[in-house]
Amino acid sequence: MLTELRMQKINKTFASVRANIDVDFDLKKGETHVLIGENGAGKTTLMNILYGLYQPDSGTISIDGNEIKITCPADSIKHGIGMVHQHFMLVENFSVAENVVLGNEPRKGRKLDRKKARQIVRDLCARYQFNLDPDMLISELSVGKQQKVEILKLLYRDADILILDEPTAVLTPTEIEELANIIHTLNSEGKSVILITHKLREVLTMSSRLTVLRNGIVTGQMNTTDATVTKLVNMMVGKNLALDVNIPYHEPSEKVLEVLDLSVRDSQGHYVVNNFNLCLRKGEIVGIAGVDGNGQSELLEALIGVRKIDSGRIIASSADISSATTLERISQGISCIAEDRHKRGVILEMPLVENTLLGNYFRPPFAKGIRIDYKATRKVTEDMVGRYDVRTPSIDTNIMWLSGGNQQKYVVAREISKPHCILLAAQPTRGVDIGAKQFIHEQLVKERGEDKGVLLVSTELDEILALSDRIVVMYKGGVSGEVTRCDANEQLIGRLMIGQHEEG
């Protein structure tokens, strides 16, 4: 059993990015130690090194004073280290049992001993009070249950150190409580847990010690009891930045977007958007809050026209666009900052100039007859890059070379520059540095001031609370509640996010 894990002077550089610089990290037996920092601070890199997915450029790892070498996941598993990744590593059409035993299968000769595998799962579930059926397919399980399967994988391999990467990002508040209990049980058994998160709230309630990383360097380490939110933000970000944007009063005018009883089904036929209703007016920001996976992505896809709707209607500026093509909707004045900018927002292998044509290629000044007017396109692109402070060597650089923050600023620039009356902004500051985040927030407020209707979809509750005039909470595809700015607070929204309707 482990007394102590030590990582000393760990250095890791990718291309020109120094992800970990002289990082020291230690873990005591039976404790929960949280690793916090902004996106890109180096937390996941450090843990991937511990788990054997990456090799450090220099530095040592030792357990109980003995130095160990970890060159691949199999090594770390041997040393009792296990990791649950942010994006689950589960084979969708395998059963729970198959996923748990993969790589360390119980055998009868060369044959897979399924009976034993099932028994193993049942035993573990009984011990930790997980409610899982070993034969159920992963595709049939909820996200919270899938996470339990991931934890089972580690427990099956007698992990003494469990690394959980952003475990609460996809859980409802109830599931988060369940997780906290599980971690408590693990600690009492002498197992240690490392939590990677950027959510400050969980830090304070679930851990005994914490380490803060910023830009690859350890900026602080302390017992949780000595920590405050302010201190933490300081260490994470370097300045005392309150999420504070100045929102002047602005009177919204007429309706610009109406979603009426919208229902959308996924490829298996389940309703992911279920009788959703929404009304957006010019000059206001409506925030859609909710835990990731309650239909927000599908709602947005339906709004821009890349996903077919099952029933219901979408009306933009009094025109029914329910069956309109994406092109028609763009012409109607709908701009969209997509959730996944690498997938839907930009074409990475094209230069900025050609990316400007997305959503613009069919109309003047970009199009001239059957041809594209590259001269005009270049001018617009240069204009955007200048006004929105997009840092790039030139407008002919392939957009993949820009940083995440600059890519996002470019997308925001492009979408706002289009003639539009509705702006859909999905996770607009995901993976973006603090400076760009501030800038983007300011742009959203500016849009509101110019009488555009802004629909903000975000899983960052702080963002929603700070910017929205009205908050619509999405739960299981429908609206579980709607709150105005003055009535909004975290507890109320939190309850709505898990489906508890407003109390009297």
Partner: protein, 308 residues
């Protein structure tokens, strides 16, 4: 009645190359590597089987040569697709081109002529005299050859391998979610190499079944797209061994219909019959399109985190 029966036996014989090749395609795709190079691997198998039989006079050695030929060229496909992470359909096309070229090249070198080789020793048609004396099924067994028995055995083996063995679980994981398997210490790269080379061995065997049976020689172009029909059978069979076997027999039937038609005195041009398997394949793919589930990560090269 007799005509129908003999058509059925012909179908079985004609389907054996397909069965071997499609099992090869199956194991490769299950592990995540698209393999349209089956055609080239069969060509290598067919040709080297003839060479082996020619050099030693022993058809069994010929079969072994065929297996080695298919296996050897599959190593190239494996390296290009797995290690070098090339687009797998393009690599497959190059393999097919390369196989045709190499076989013509070597044929010219050894037989000093192009087009086709000399006749060689074939695999004995009938397993053993006493087979035909077995009551009831004797008359059936008499019509079959070693390849048919082997092919059925391989299908059963493949069914067990994929669905019941530990290696099969890992193969399927490598094809569905290689990253998940990697994080659990499963060597995805090694598994994919094994599966691609295995597919080459099986396709090579399929080629040998083609060239060392009724007319034992190698003619340029004799594989005639069977490698691709094997792929269609795999899709028809939804990447499951037993279903794929059924699909191969159906395609073998299509080939055999030509014989039956001649027996019936139907007067259609030979190109009509030659076209039937291809038309069937197309319809197969149309019918089974959405329902067919290829392994999720199939066709996508896998990069370990540490290699990035």
């Amino acid at each position: 009645m007799n005509l129908l029966l003999s058509t059925f036996y012909a179908a079985l014989r004609l389907s054996t190359p397909l069965i071997f090749a499609s099992m090869g395609g199956l194991v490769s795709e299950k592990s995540g590597v698209t393999n349209i190079a089956l055609e080239g691997m069969m060509t290598m198998g067919a040709f080297f089987a003839v060479i082996g039989s020619y050099i030693t006079g022993n058809p069994l050695i010929g079969v072994i040569f065929g297996i080695l030929g298919g296996g050897a060229i599959s190593v190239i496909h494996a390296i290009v697709c797995i290690r070098l992470r090339a687009q797998q359909t393009i690599s497959g096309t190059a393999i097919n081109l390369f196989s045709t070229a190499i076989t013509s090249f070597v044929m010219f070198k050894i037989f000093n002529k192009g087009g086709q080789t000399d006749l060689v020793t074939a695999l004995p048609f009938m397993p053993a005299k006493w087979f035909s004396e077995v009551p009831v099924v004797g008359s059936v067994l008499r019509e079959l050859n070693w390849f048919i028995f082997m092919s059925f055995a391989i299908v059963i083996l493949m069914q067990w391998l994929i669905n019941r063995s530990v290696l099969g679980l890992r193969i399927r994981a490598a094809g569905e979610h290689p990253k998940a398997a990697d994080t659990l210490g499963v060597d995805v790269i090694k598994i994919r190499y094994i599966c691609v080379i295995l597919s080459g061995i099986l396709a090579g065997l399929g080629g040998a079944a083609l060239s060392l049976s009724a007319t034992p020689l190698f003619i340029e172009g004799m594989v005639a797209g069977r490698g691709f029909i094997a792929l269609a059978a795999m899709v028809f069979g939804r990447w499951k061994p037993i279903n794929t076997l059924a699909a191969c027999i159906i395609f073998g039937l299509a080939d055999a219909v030509q014989i039956m038609a001649q027996g019936l005195g139907w007067n259609m041009p030979s190109e009509f019959y030659s076209s039937i398997p291809y038309v069937m394949s197309i319809f197969t793919m149309i019918l089974f399109a959405g329902k067919a589930q290829a392994p999720k990560a199939c066709g996508i090269p896998y990069t370990r985190e540490s290699d990035k």
